[in-house]
């Protein structure tokens, strides 16, 4: 494995390997509970807490956990933190807890969290594992907020329950219903694809500035 600097460990999860927008991990919560901004924030914070907590524990005990049962051990650690988050949310914000419902418990099987333990926390020192977990958690929260804002603004005409457009706005209800989740993430990924396509096109022009005929992507394919 190539050595990385602490800054790289932190930034990687936010941008280049964003769990939701690039790796498409942890899609269940990202699509299911992002219908309002408040839900997205609660879910993002709960996942952040579970991710950082379990990375810390896994990295601390990495020498003690036998290799054969490591996955079960990780899942037990994650499930413990999820139970804590579940009880805390139920006590502090009962309304949001009710709306999120089973999806809090489902943080346990979020592949993003297990993936970070297996790929990173179980091999690196505690400080690096924490940095990586915080970076990935922030990346997840950014993605959740993006989707939550998009969906609540279009589907309900408000942010955090505060109306934005006045009485004449007809809410685009489909965006707070299930199909809206798929479509929102789809549009975001299309935008990313368009941006990357444009970037590679400019790079090609820079490489052949005098108009040498190079096959375009369509012709080459």
């Amino acid at each position: 494995m190539r050595a990385t600097t602490p800054a790289e460990d932190f930034v990687r999860g936010i941008w280049k390997e964003n769990p939701v927008l690039v790796q498409l991990l942890g899609l269940c919560p990202a699509l299911a509970v992002t219908n309002t901004v408040a839900n997205s924030i609660a879910m993002g914070l709960a996942t952040f807490f579970v991710l950082v907590g379990s990375s810390l524990l896994v990295s601390t005990f990495k020498k003690v956990i036998p290799h054969e049962v490591r996955i079960s051990a990780y899942i037990l650690i994650i499930a413990t933190f999820v139970t804590i988050a579940d009880l805390v949310l139920a006590a502090v914000v009962p309304l949001i807890h009710k709306e999120l419902g089973a999806f809090i418990a489902l943080i346990v099987v979020n592949c993003m969290i297990l993936g970070r333990q297996e790929a990173f926390a179980s091999k690196r020192p505690i400080g690096r594992a924490l940095l990586d977990a915080v970076g990935t958690g922030v990346g997840f929260m950014i993605a959740m907020l993006m989707m939550g804002t998009f969906r609540e603004v279009l589907g309900n005409g408000s942010i955090l329950g505060v109306p934005l457009f006045g009485d004449n706005f007809e809410p685009w209800v489909i965006f707070i219903l299930p199909p809206g989740g798929f479509l929102t993430l789809g549009f975001i990924l299309l935008a990313f694809g368009w941006w990357q396509e444009r970037k590679s096109d400019t790079a090609r022009i820079r490489q052949w500035p005098h108009g040498v005929a190079t096959p375009s992507r369509e012709e080459a394919a």
Binding site: L24, L27, L76, A102, A105, V109, P178, G186, L190, E218
Partner: protein
């Protein structure tokens, strides 16, 4: 009897696990490129869901009344280990069946569809028979979604899509349209 039918159809179509509850998205995105694989994945899902249903019912009836805070952890541990045991048994008893389903079983033992199913069954207070019906309905729903998605993807592979849609964006837009279509089933039971 009418109740059981309602549970079956509602789990399969009206509140389809993948398309309206967003459960089991990883296999939905990952294993939906070929119809044949998708079908086998669906079968494996039905199988694990039935085992889960029985496990969850046993735990809820005999164990969890004494220790409700252990629900999440015990569900995961018991389901994962039982699926592992059944997998070994199948490998011994019927190697053909194992080749058909085997490779998918470890993938789905702690999938969100499975755990979500156990939690839903508990929250709705289903009995043994209702739970089994719910499991079969949910499994059929997952299979239906997987096969539909795989058929569309197989067809779209040969068509020329814009370059920016060559990543997962296209798949998600297709999933959105499918989910939109499944919303039509919501009116099925209103009368």
């Amino acid at each position: 009897m009418g109740d059981l039918l309602w549970i079956l159809v509602s789990a399969m179509l009206v509140s389809n696990f993948t398309l309206s509850l967003f459960l089991g998205l990883c296999p939905f995105m990952g294993v939906s490129a070929r119809v044949e694989t998708a079908l086998r994945m669906g079968m494996a899902n039905i199988f694990v869901l039935v085992i889960t249903s029985i496990c969850a019912w046993l735990l809820n009836t005999y164990v969890l009344p004494y220790a409700p805070y252990l629900r999440l952890i015990s569900f995961i541990v018991v389901i994962a280990s039982l699926v592992q045991i059944v997998e070994m048994a199948i490998r011994k008893i019927s190697p053909t069946l194992f080749r058909e389903l085997g490779i998918f079983l470890p993938l789905i033992t702690t999938n969100c569809a499975i755990l979500g199913f156990a939690i839903f069954q508990t929250n709705r207070g289903y009995g043994f028979l209702e739970g089994l019906t719910f499991a079969v309905g949910a499994g059929l729903g997952l299979t239906l979604a997987l096969v539909l998605m795989a058929s569309i993807r197989e067809t779209s592979e040969l068509s020329s899509v814009p370059a920016m849609a060559r990543n997962m964006g296209l798949v998600l837009i297709i999933a959105g349209s499918l989910s939109l279509a499944f919303m039509g089933f919501a009116g099925l039971f209103s009368t």
